[in-house]
Amino acid sequence: MIARREQQLTYLLLGVFSLIALVPVAGIVVTALQARGSAAGFGVPDGFNLENFATAWEEGNFADYLRSSVIVTVSVVALSTLLSILAGYAFGMMRFRGATVLFYLMLLGLMVPLEATIVPLYYDLRDLSLTDTYWALILPQVGASVAFGTFWMRAFFRSVPRSLVEAARLDGSSSWTTLWRVVLPLGRPAVLTMVALIFMWTWNEFLLALVMVSDEGLRTAPLGLAFFQGRNTTDYALLAAGSVIVATPVVVLYVFLQRHFIRGMLAGAVKG
């Protein structure tokens, strides 16, 4: 009896929290489907209008913004995943002088917020003539992501049984082969989780894009959305459609990776 009550209570609580999380999202989707100029918010939808998306796409220039976002995000995710795997492998499995100090130095990258460094970063990149290029968006975000990624992958590599690596060494496998053939195939959940997180953070990054890029053609989707909002302050249906367009890629990726995502999170939780 108690168990059943407890279960009901659990479902109730989970239900309430799901609602709290979902209502705003549902609100935006519903708004985006309403006819332009009709009452905004959570009213009863007055129909199923897809033309808002088409209009927003056209007027908001989202094709360009999304292209920039894809270029930046894919580059950042690819580069930081590769670097994080290599650095995590070194920190997690190899013994070398200064490993601890270097690792804490990397963690610093996790702790210092972008807001604290963005001004000097701007001047540095300007001196290198990199502002107003994709590099100004890619390089700093690779730096930030590698700090997290190294931390994350190190935890994974630490959780791999040592004997597995030793067996590979005795079998004649180099460190390189051991990483790619023996150890990393076990880390798919960890890697995919990391990919999803870095993708999300990079896709949604706003401040960096705002500061580093003034060329319209280089604007990323969140930035584009902000400008779009500035131009259409009262047309809620159109704004909502723009938001949905910008958010969709992350949601789609999440749905694809969520099975691994949860498993990776749990592995991280148990094995530290």
Partner: protein, 349 residues
């Protein structure tokens, strides 16, 4: 195939001396068991031989070649790990072939060796399975097979049977021994189980607290333990070790400070006392009936417990008093202070 030589090998981990002044010769093609309690340094010695730990001092040679600075993959040794360490994402076939591919062997050679190992271990049907789809015993055989296909100079085995249930362990014990005798590859086998050591080893090296206590054939260790540690460690039930002082026995050549060592089979109930030293008397503390024989733990005084063996079942119960005697030929004397063996009773072999 090759002999293995440890010469004055030392290893420390921080302030812990894991292996001290360890010297051991392992003949080409022989089966050497390193046995000892946990923390005795046996696994560390094996890992140094594998190249997984650096040698602190001294030298380790495989054949003529000193391997102290040779990387594990160039030592041409294969190891069976306690947890098997199978590559989980690879099929049994790929587990076998992984090491051979790293050594750039021809495809048909690899295929042939994998086949042969699979046949020898009856794994032919399972070649396309992944490790997690196998039972514990099958995984263990895959671990053996992965070492076998390598055809290395030396096999290293680190407690390979400790994750198996008792019955499978006995069976696999015989199987490993048979395989080794067939292919005659030098094998170093680490275990904490003295029964495994006694049944498998051509020779056994008993280790304790980082030191080598004694090396010899199973018979030598059993019949002539070099010191109290080996006497107590080898044999099940263990040798009874009793201070000579206070025993109502004439023991020629034994001074008062000596310790008497008696194997259970050399302590028998008195009956008519023929051929026995004694009689001794004591109270039965416990009865261990194994069916074929029964062991009685008999206290004949403080700190003097003898294990007495009785053929078949025994009607004797704990708490009863019994008289028993000792077989003079089987007795061993040890110096109490140093623990060193003093040999058999004077005038005996």
């Amino acid at each position: 195939m090759a002999a293995v030589t440890f010469r004055n090998v030392e290893k420390r981990f921080g302030s812990v001396e894991a292996v001290r002044d360890f010297s051991l010769e392992i003949a080409d093609g022989s089966f050497m068991v390193l046995v000892g309690p946990s923390g005795s340094g046996k696994t560390t010695a094996l890992r140094m031989l594998a190249g997984l730990e650096a040698v602190g001092a001294g030298t380790i040679a495989i054949g003529e070649r000193v391997v102290n600075d040779v990387s594990p993959r160039e030592r041409d040794v294969a190891m069976v790990f306690q947890d098997y360490a199978l590559y989980p994402q690879m099929s049994v076939r790929d587990n076998f072939a992984f090491g051979l591919r790293r050594r750039k062997l021809a495809r048909d050679v690899i295929e042939r060796r994998v086949r042969r190992a699979a046949d020898a271990l009856e794994l032919g049907e399972l070649l396309d399975r992944r490790p997690r789809e196998l039972s514990g015993g099958q995984q263990q055989r895959v671990a053996l097979g992965r070492a076998l296909v390598r055809e290395p100079q030396v096999f290293l085995m680190d407690e390979p049977l400790s994750n198996l249930d008792a019955k499978l362990r006995v069976q696999t014990r015989g199987e490993i021994r048979r395989l080794q005798q067939e292919i005659e590859t030098t094998t170093v086998y680490v275990t904490h189980d003295q029964v495994e050591a006694m049944t498998m080893g051509d020779r056994i090296a008993v280790m304790n607290a980082g030191r080598l206590e004694q090396v010899g054939t199973p018979e030598e260790l059993y019949e002539r333990p070099a010191n109290l540690f080996v006497a107590a460690f080898i044999g099940s039930p263990a040798m009874s070790l009793v201070p000579v002082a206070g025993l109502p026995l004439e023991l020629p050549g034994a001074d008062a400070g000596a310790v008497l060592g008696v194997r259970p089979e050399h302590a028998r109930l008195w009956e008519d006392g023929e051929g026995l030293l004694g009689p001794l008397e004591g109270e039965v503390a416990y009865v261990e009936a194994l069916g074929r024989e029964t062991f009685l733990g008999v206290d004949s005084g403080p700190r003097t417990r003898f294990v007495v063996s009785v053929a078949g079942r025994s009607p004797i119960r704990p708490g009863e008093r019994v008289r028993f005697g000792l077989v003079a030929d089987g007795l061993r004397l040890f110096a109490a202070a140093s623990g060193r063996a003093l040999g058999p009773l004077a005038g005996r072999r």
